[in-house]
């Protein structure tokens, strides 16, 4: 039996392996844009710049049970009964696979990396570009900016460039007397800043964001739509000087709403998709003439439109497409649905079959958070390429 205390100051094994791990993190971020893109911490970050994001590829993959389908056992505080809700999915700090707490499970945790949203944005946008950026962007708005671009020897005193004037003075005295000094100002020393009128052209885009808020659009589906719009707006802002967003939510009727309402409104009622398109066309007619604006309507729904409305929806969609740069439609499925359970007869397939101008239509199906990034690439990738 002994007690020892040795010198561990040179011990670095943990640190070294930690560095190996950091490298993996960096690689993983690049490879995992798919899941980072739709991660709650970013989408709900409200403007924070550095966010913690769980990275799945640094999960240690094993054959394991689906945590969300298992029955778990835990202890309570003495008063529990059947029916008590002990936690909710989607709460901060929770995520799929993360129930209330690791109790009887082999320890599975996501690795959380700190990421700078702007850096992620850069990585994501690398692959994206703006579809159908028309010339109208260049003619859109003339605005004049004044820039002080020249230096002249004459001008008004309030525009005196003091620094340059001093320098000229020193130069002249150096020439004349041989020593660089300040003093004995002459008119010829003075320098003035002058401005020029510059014409700039600003490009304008308007995004018409439409969301189905009928009874079947639950938390998950709204969240998917939100993730998508988050990046879409960010991306458009890097390409256009001014991006306006119009928010329309609809069930059997459509209404223009604020951003806040758009993302948090409760859902109820049936689905009549054409109501949203009609309102969109109306707003475009009133406020955003296509000759001045690049228009990008996007619609998110779960595809379950009122059957007899489908014809009207297609007709209005055709109209929209005719005056817009690109019409996007995202169909969101049940969370966790695997590919072999896709429902047919939903709006997406109808659009694919019947819309006249398929070039300017992009429809995608999103079943899972991981599908958001590929959907972004579909919408914003190069035409003719599939992500």
């Amino acid at each position: 039996m002994s007690v020892q205390r040795n010198d561990w100051s040179l011990q670095r094994k943990g640190q070294i392996d930690q560095d190996r791990h950091k490298e993996r993190v960096r690689e993983a971020i690049k490879k995992n844009l798919g899941s980072i893109v739709s991660n709650e911490s970013i989408i709900l970050s409200d403007g924070k710049r550095v966010v913690k994001v769980p990275i799945r590829s640094l999960d240690e993959y094993k054959f394991r049970y689906d945590y969300r389908k298992k029955k778990h056992v835990a202890t309570g505080d003495g008063n529990t009964k059947v029916g008590d809700v002990i936690a909710r999915e989607g709460e901060p700090g929770q995520g799929p696979g993360h129930g209330p707490g690791a109790g009887d499970q082999p320890g599975q945790e996501y690795y959380e990396a700190e990421v700078d949203i702007d850096e992620i944005a850069k990585l994501i946008f690398e692959d994206l570009h703006l579809p159908y950026l028309e010339d109208k962007a260049k003619q859109a708005v003339e605005s004049t900016k004044t820039k002080f671009t020249e230096i002249r020897r004459s001008g008004i005193l309030s525009n005196l460039d003091k620094r340059r004037s001093l320098i000229e003075n020193i130069k002249r005295t150096a020439r004349e007397t041989g020593s660089a000094e300040l003093g004995r100002f002459k008119k010829e020393d003075l320098r003035y800043k002058t401005w020029q009128e510059q014409m700039t052209y600003e490009s304008n885009a308007v995004v018409i964001a439409m969301m189905d808020v009928s009874g079947s659009m639950g938390e998950f589906k709204k969240y998917i739509a939100r993730s998508f719009y988050f990046w879409m707006v960010r991306f458009l802002k890097t390409k256009y000087d001014h991006v306006k967003i119009v928010f329309i939510s609809h069930h059997t009727e459509a209404k223009e709403v604020t951003e806040q309402q758009f993302f948090t409104q409760g859902e109820s009622g049936g689905t009549v998709v054409s109501s949203a398109y009609r309102l969109a066309l109306d707003i475009i007619g009133r406020l955003y003439p296509p000759k001045d604006w690049n228009i990008y309507p996007f619609h998110f729904s779960d595809g379950d439109n009122y059957y007899s409305d489908n014809d009207e929806a297609v007709r209005l969609a055709d109209e929209l497409i005719a005056m817009c740069n690109l019409f996007g439609y995202g169909e969101i499925g049940e969370e966790g649905a695997s590919s072999y359970r896709r429902s047919s007869g939903a709006l997406l397939s109808i659009f694919k079959d019947r819309l006249k101008d398929q070039e300017r239509f992009v429809g995608v199906r999103i079943d899972d958070k991981e599908d958001v990034y590929p959907a972004l690439k579909d919408f914003f990738g190069k035409r003719g390429e599939q992500a």
């Binding site: 561990w8 070294i16 056992v73 505080d77 002990i86 109790g103």
Partner: protein, 475 residues
Amino acid sequence: MVDKEVKELEKAVEQIWDVATSKFGLDPFPVRFEVVPSAVMYEVGSYALPGRYSHWTFGKAYHRMKTMYDFGLSKIYEVVINSNPSYAFLLETNSPIQNKMVIAHVLGHVDFFKNSVYFSRTNRRMIDEAALHARRMSEYEFKYGRKVVEELLDAVLSIEEHIDPNFFIKRETARPEEEAVKPSRHEGRYDDLFTREEITKREAPWEKHVDEDKRSPSLESPEKDLVYFIMKNSPVLETWQRDVMAMLHQEMEYFVPQMQTKIMNEGWASIWHSRIMRELDLPTNDYVEFAELHSGVVSPHKGQLNPYYLGFKIFEDIEKRWDNPLAEEREKFGRRGGEGREKMFEVREIENDISFLRNYLTEELCDELDLFVYQLVDEEEWTITEKKWERVRDQLVSNMTNFGFPYIEVVDGDYDGNRELYLMHRYEGVEMDMKYARKTLEYVYKLWGRDVHLETVVEEEPLILRYNGSEHEED
């Protein structure tokens, strides 16, 4: 910590050892305590064995634990190794009371390691063995490249728990023709006596028995030990890669008993640390500090399962029931009373967590501990669905089966006559995580080199996942 403090610690160790063995009858291996800074503590904690091979997963664990410590969120108090002599680590920033508690706790663990039948075959010189493994790993890294080794490790680690815990027993009853194929366990033990060239030239014994032309050995019965099976029969692995699998298999064999007895072992050590500390006759302040520490360790956490709490309560209950059996227990089972201590010691010798819970988790305990079953309802709410004690107990036991992992066996190593690997998940009502399954299949493919199949059940229907090196399919 200053020399004087080390001396005091030594005295404390002696005193505690005395109480533990003479008064309470504990029977541990001799223990070497080492006082270390937090970085080392978390290092050993994440590697589980000092001097172990390197992998980024350890770095990840290290980072997480160290971060929790640095932020004051959690603290590892003890790290103890199952070996003879045993090694245990004390955090240099511990107070004397914390250290005493840890020492007492450690002695409980080491007694468990020594006396539990599940540990009887573990390699008590594992620290040396792990160091040898680490050396070989780094030689491979040097020879083949760090990335190559890391990718291999990633693949093997994905299935590392799928070994046969009864490996020891099986080998002893191996049939004569299998004797010649010595399992990896002994392979490479004397490698350090040979130069690297001699090792790679020397043919591994299993290679004598796996002929490329001959069909792979037919399976008389399904093989649960995925690691062993793939290591032996993979069409594509090189010798050094099989060696890596062998090392990992050996290390997992070593850890299996710890995984099988976590609740018991923590409960056992907690019971004894609390009793030993009481015997030490500490001044009130110290005792209060200890009481706080103890309750921090052994308290129930709502919505979780604290193994310390569970094990502690069950052992306490066993002692109580055997010290004072009810009248009908005396009659039916012949219990005499006053046998509490004896019964506890017997339990720690012969049970593992599953049998421990099945046999000794009573209705009263379930009520007292307020145990319940919960699951995700409507994809949104984690809801309590069951409180009937037998169902709760059965669910707990079921969750612990096979270390909480799905039971997967190789049923065919030559599927389709094409040397494809066919794995079967023994479905028992709980579905596997499909995403993880696909990713892991990719790793298995990497090790096997031919198409791999996994049959499981989803939504009551059989589903076969397939991976052929580039695409996933299913039907």
